[in-house]
Subunit: 323 residues, 2 copies
């Protein structure tokens, strides 16, 4: 399958790694790409609605993401934060001067009654992002981290404590009553959907909240199209973020095999890195097809190349040419 034959494509994404592959897909598919984005990380800070994963994907696809930090906007300045500190405000979550414009506009528009989907679509239009970025739901879902001694809101765990406490469990507050993004349901009526790609985002923190929205798993499977994931674990470690640490803390195998088991019943195939080629048979034994590929994305070319690998793999699965 190529970007020409695939028609449209759906990707599921959270943070940095996911945004990179989404960018590779966006370069191939343009507005024929829909990215379903995790909003479990969303929180209110300084009275502003912050959507870290939506912003990471949006900034990445707009070509303005900060390549070093993994969040925020390139060339960012910090005058606002410096003044917040002078005024005795909280400094643990850093909002850049440019990035702030996103949060202020989003907060204002949400307060005026716009949905998060509509706000996101407007921001994407202004930034020239052609792909459709869909929050998994327009309803509030909050990822909560259970650690020793109690439960933490996600950003407290992730940013304030820098993931330094052990994770004993993860809960998606509000997920049970959240409604799947209606624009996604509408998309499902397209017969030209080529494949569904689960980007190499943290399965526990970025993809599971998406899958926790009632009906999401069923909707994805009901498309009858190949679902392909890319392992965010390479050589027993995460490319970025706490995925490996969390998997160990929750008793999962910290490897592409652990990822395969995590997604069992949902995905048809898993793309694993060349470093993990030796794990292929173990993954196939789980009933999941495997494609071995270079998967670490250091350049734009890498992003597009990995997108092509995912497409070709999905095409072979669809055609029954894959064992």
């Amino acid at each position: 399958m190529t970007s020409e034959s695939a028609g449209t494509i759906i990707a599921l994404a959270g943070g940095v790694g996911g945004a990179k592959l989404a960018d590779g897909l966006a370069r191939l598919f343009g507005e024929r790409l829909t990215v379903v984005v995790n909003t479990g990380d969303d929180f209110t800070h300084l009275g502003l609605h912050v959507s870290p994963d939506l912003d990471t994907v949006m900034y990445t696809l707009a070509g303005i993401a900060n390549p070093k930090a993994g969040w925020g906007i390139v060339g960012e300045t910090w005058e606002f934060m410096a003044q917040i500190e002078r005024l005795g405000g909280p400094a643990w979550f850093r909002l850049g001067d440019r990035d702030l414009a996103t949060h202020v506009l989003r907060t204002e528009r949400l307060a005026e009654g716009e949905t998060l989907s509509a706000v996101t679509a407007g921001l994407c239009r202004s930034l020239g992002v052609a792909a459709a970025l869909l929050p998994m739901s327009d309803d509030l879902v909050r990822t909560m981290i259970r650690s020793d001694g109690g439960e933490l809101p996600f950003q407290d765990y992730f940013v304030r404590l820098a993931c330094a406490v052990p994770v004993r469990g993860i809960r998606f507050e509000g997920a049970k009553t959240a409604r799947i993004n209606p624009a996604l349901a509408a998309l499902g009526e397209r017969p030209d959907l080529g494949a569904i790609i689960i980007c190499p985002s943290n399965p526990y923190l970025s993809v599971d909240p998406i899958l926790a929205v009632p009906g999401m798993r069923e909707w994805l499977r009901a498309q009858g199209r190949p679902i392909v994931a890319v392992s965010p674990i390479v050589g027993g470690a995460a490319i970025k973020g706490p995925a490996a640490k969390i998997m160990a803390e929750l008793g999962a195998a910290v490897s592409a095999v652990g990822i395969a088991r995590h997604y069992r019943g949902l995905i048809d195939g898993l793309v694993i890195d060349e470093a993990d080629a030796g794990l292929a048979n173990e993954i196939v034994a789980e009933g999941i097809k495997v494609r071995v590929s270079r998967s670490v994305m250091s350049s734009t070319e890498d992003r597009v190349a990995l997108a092509r690998v995912c497409l070709a793999f999905a095409g072979e699965i669809a055609d029954g040419r894959c064992r």
Copy 2:
């Protein structure tokens, strides 16, 4: 009367000119100065509670006011605004990156249930402002400008339209039910109050909203201390802002005499500029005592000097040494 003999002092202030004299008084009185500040200009922009006059006075007394613009913070940067424009947001009201910290913290704290007084006190503490800055009321009062064809919210008139439309009337929405700042009422019990100074702010746009709060005029008079105003009109023109234009549009004499008539019944004395010395008799004929002084404040020394003039004048009025 000197700053030693005056005990405490109350000033009424709005924008730039008022803030300058308040600064002169603050340099003499420190925490013995209370500034009652206009909040009729307050409005919600981009979902943020902006208090232009409170901020102008606060920044001026903190020594961080932008000396050129007459609003905002010195050395300000504009990354946020540039991004707001990129995102299709409104650009007619400019919020600097540092200034924004004030609005974001204020909005958050108001949303949490703090009063505007408490928020202002907290911000002043952080900025090292020793004087007490009191919003005239913690309740919402909105200055509305009646022009040809309808009524405009104040900032639409003042910033968006740059005062280009004629003023036919001014209304202070919410003033009738607004309660006088309780901290001000508490202050009134101090027997050491030396004088009340009405700073050279726009009488119509900056001082009238303060006086429109029910009980404010009566409270000021009830102190039994000299009330001295400084004319913001010098040589038939305003030092800054639309005061002269508005006075003409509303049919008032555009001169220190017009100012005297405007404040008749409230003030005991009016400080007028040397340029207007020839108007002294006309003002005395209105039943208001006059002090002629250099009144244009170009330097910090000018601010302190004018503050001393006001004090000495109030002292002479109190002692009955003034005709």
